[in-house]
């Protein structure tokens, strides 16, 4: 029966991983890859230890420290005691349970969602989980990838499965060609602006359409990365030649004849004609401008040519109060032009925009220019491999000469768990994924933008329309 009904990409990957369906519809879902980091795993390993359980599939698991490690002077050890204890705990746990681990001084170390695809650990058609909501990034490979809590981390370590019910299917189709200066980040911010931070709740979003097909893998990862900011369980993009080309030659990817067999299966994964989606959303790529968030959730977003909304224009009382709180927290005035906002800090990095393509985009804007006086601009490559590649291409020099800080890989100021934090009242143009109150440091004010827009902010000292810098 299931064979004849047209299925979506999500349906196919889901069906391929159902170990057993329980009477109430809950499924025991097999997990192909489990990515583990230092912040959400200590209590899970402790749980295993207390129950006398082992890690069922160390060969399907990879661990790395990324969230709270310093991005400078790492060779001298971690100065913050609580961060050091977390990383040391991870190192003890991976040794005790035999889990593969990229040490913090190895070039393979990096943000867990950067290194999965980069190492060929995340592949099309897989189920991939991690104790981190931005696991949705890996869906760009055509895999089903989603974030889980620590209890579920323990569950996967012990059983290599999760108890789950299938999600609903949502199709977000973006047709047409992006305008100059517009990127994958602008696409996903425009999508979230349209459907809202809870628009995807209960759904897995499949991103499709000519504008998505035209993106490189880095861009596709940026889009899927922020699915969770629309509330979706996961984001996915059907694997195609761009995907297969990306996978080829990655360290842990299949090679030769094995790769051919894998690709033959991956080609069967795109949705069947007539497959049913519970919700369909359409966007015109040509209508998307460089986007910038003004408020404290990613749905509070406007084109860079726009202005700060006026809460008084909103009819619903609770919504009006929420908007007023955002305006106040962000230190804004209704009607203010976004491009009039002065910037104190620029952060380029994170699992959203810490790939080599992102750093190249920033360098293209920074080349021959200088970071504006009074602005602190940081580049944090997403992995040691990204950093090495940038240095081999010489783009680190362009950025350093322009006045940017060139740092070591990690999550850094995306969430301010390490020393990279905003101070109260500081305004930051950031390529990360969340602009929640205090996310980048208590009292910090975050404006989410693309890497090119962040570099434009750095060199002008204010939120700027990158199209005017061309």
């Amino acid at each position: 029966m299931a064979e004849t009904k047209p299925r979506t990409l999500f349906d196919k990957v889901w069906d391929a991983h159902v170990v057993e369906q329980l009477p109430d519809g809950t499924c025991v879902l097999y997990i192909d890859r489990h990515l583990v980091h230092e912040v959400t795993s200590p209590q899970a390993f402790e749980g295993l230890r207390m129950a006398g359980r082992k890690v069922r599939r160390p060969d399907a698991t990879i661990a790395v420290a990324d969230h709270n490690i310093p991005t400078m002077g790492r060779a001298n050890g971690i100065q913050e005691e609580d961060s050091r204890i977390q990383v040391e705990t991870l190192e003890r746990n991976v040794a005790e349970f035999g889990v593969p681990y990229f040490p913090i001084l190895s070039p393979e170390q990096g943000i867990v969602h950067i290194i999965g695809p980069e190492q060929g650990i995340s592949l099309p058609g897989m189920t991939i989980v991690c104790g981190d909501s931005h696991t949705s990034t890996h869906g760009a490979m055509g895999s089903l990838a989603f974030g889980i809590g620590t209890s579920e981390v323990e569950h996967v370590l012990a059983t290599q499965t999760l108890l789950q019910k299938p999600a609903k299917n949502m199709l977000v189709r973006v047709e047409g060609t992006l305008g100059a200066g517009c990127t994958a980040k602008d696409i996903v911010l425009a999508i979230i602006g349209k459907i809202g931070t809870a628009g995807g709740t209960g759904h897995v979003i499949e991103f499709a359409g000519s504008a998505i097909r035209a993106l490189d893998m880095a861009g596709r990862m940026t889009v899927c990365n922020m699915s969770i900011e629309a509330g979706a369980r996961a984001g996915m993009i059907a694997p195609d030649e761009t995907t297969f080309e990306y996978v080829r030659g990655k360290p842990f990817a299949p090679k030769g004849e094995a790769l051919d067999r894998a690709i033959a299966w991956w080609r069967t994964l795109p949705a069947d004609p007539g497959a049913h989606y519970d919700t369909v959303v359409e966007l015109d790529a040509a209508a998307i401008a460089p986007m910038v968030t003004w408020g404290t959730n990613p749905e509070a977003v406007v084109p860079v040519t726009g202005t700060v909304p006026n809460p008084a224009d909103v009819a619903d009382e609770a919504k009006r109060a929420q908007l007023a709180r955002m305006v106040e927290y962000m230190g804004l005035t209704p009607g203010q032009k976004m491009t009039d906002l002065k910037i104190d800090v620029v952060f380029i990095g994170s699992c959203t925009n810490g790939r080599i393509e992102d750093i190249r985009a920033a360098a293209a804007v920074a080349k021959g220019r200088r970071v504006a006086p009074g602005v602190r601009a940081m580049i944090v490559p997403g992995s040691g491999i990204v950093k090495q590649l940038a240095e081999a291409e010489g783009i680190d020099r362009i950025l350093i000469d322009a006045g940017f800080e060139w740092r070591e890989p990690g999550c850094s100021m995306c969430l301010g768990m390490n020393p990279d934090k905003l101070t109260p009242g500081q305004r930051c143009a950031s390529t990360s994924n969340r602009n929640f109150e205090g996310r980048q440091g208590p009292g910090g004010r975050t404006h989410l933008v693309s890497p090119a827009m962040a570099a434009a902010a750095a060199v002008t000292g204010r939120l700027a329309d990158v199209r005017e810098l061309a």
Binding site: T40, F146, H155, G202, F252, A318, L415
Partner: protein, 206 residues
């Protein structure tokens, strides 16, 4: 995990939408290797000023709500990160039940694993319960999981829906892993089948 059967207690009104996990427990408090002790930092920035002094206007700093066991909020509660520190902080404070029009998926999952019951009720009913909750100590709510009802102080019973499997686990305080391991033979045979059919899939070793 403690079972959840029936709870009668003070409910704290938190009339906010999109309460994100950074609000529930900011990232700087995630540097712990334990599950306990996070209650003191629950809603840290809403609860304390920059000097660490309590903000008297925040609900959990007020009289009876210091002992609240139920929290009532608006849409999209728990959005943002996957941090289980959010339900750990709620539990450590003493909250065993959150009532809201809807929840973010990962947070919703995480509550069940910690013996916290998340209840979805329409916005207008949440607002009625919010009015009840404003009466503090004089207006305890009862949450009866077996019967699937919230009982208002005036005796009115409000029915809620819950996934039957999760209800069973919660009522009996059952650990998910123990449940899944009952299916170990199925997992074994899935793995053998996968090894044969997806032999291209490499293992990871470093």
């Amino acid at each position: 995990m403690d079972a959840f059967t029936k709870l009668t207690g003070v409910a704290a009104p938190l009339p906010m939408a999109n309460v994100d996990t950074d609000k529930i427990i900011p990232a700087r408090f995630l540097k712990t290797i334990k599950r306990t002790g996070l209650g003191v930092h629950l809603f840290d920035t809403l609860r304390y000023d920059a000097d660490g002094k309590e903000r008297p206007e925040f609900v959990l700093n007020q009289g009876p709500y210091r002992k609240a066991e139920i929290l009532i909020a608006h849409e999209n509660f728990g959005c943002g990160s996957s941090r289980e520190h959010a339900p750990w902080a709620l539990l450590d404070f003493g909250i065993r039940c959150v009532i809201a029009p809807d929840f973010a998926d990962i947070f919703h999952n995480n509550t069940f694993k910690n013996g916290i019951l998340p209840i979805r009720l329409p916005r207008e009913i949440c607002d009625q319960l919010m009015e009840d909750a404003k009466q503090g100590d004089n207006a305890r709510l009862t949450v009866d999981l077996a019967e699937q009802v919230v009982v208002r102080p005036n005796g009115e019973k409000i029915r809620f829906e819950i996934d039957s499997f999760r209800k069973h686990l919660l009522l009996n305080g059952l650990d998910d892993i123990g449940q899944t391991l009952q299916h170990a033979p199925s997992i074994d045979s899935y793995e053998s089948k996968q090894k044969a059919e997806k032999s291209w899939m490499p293992g990871i070793s470093v």
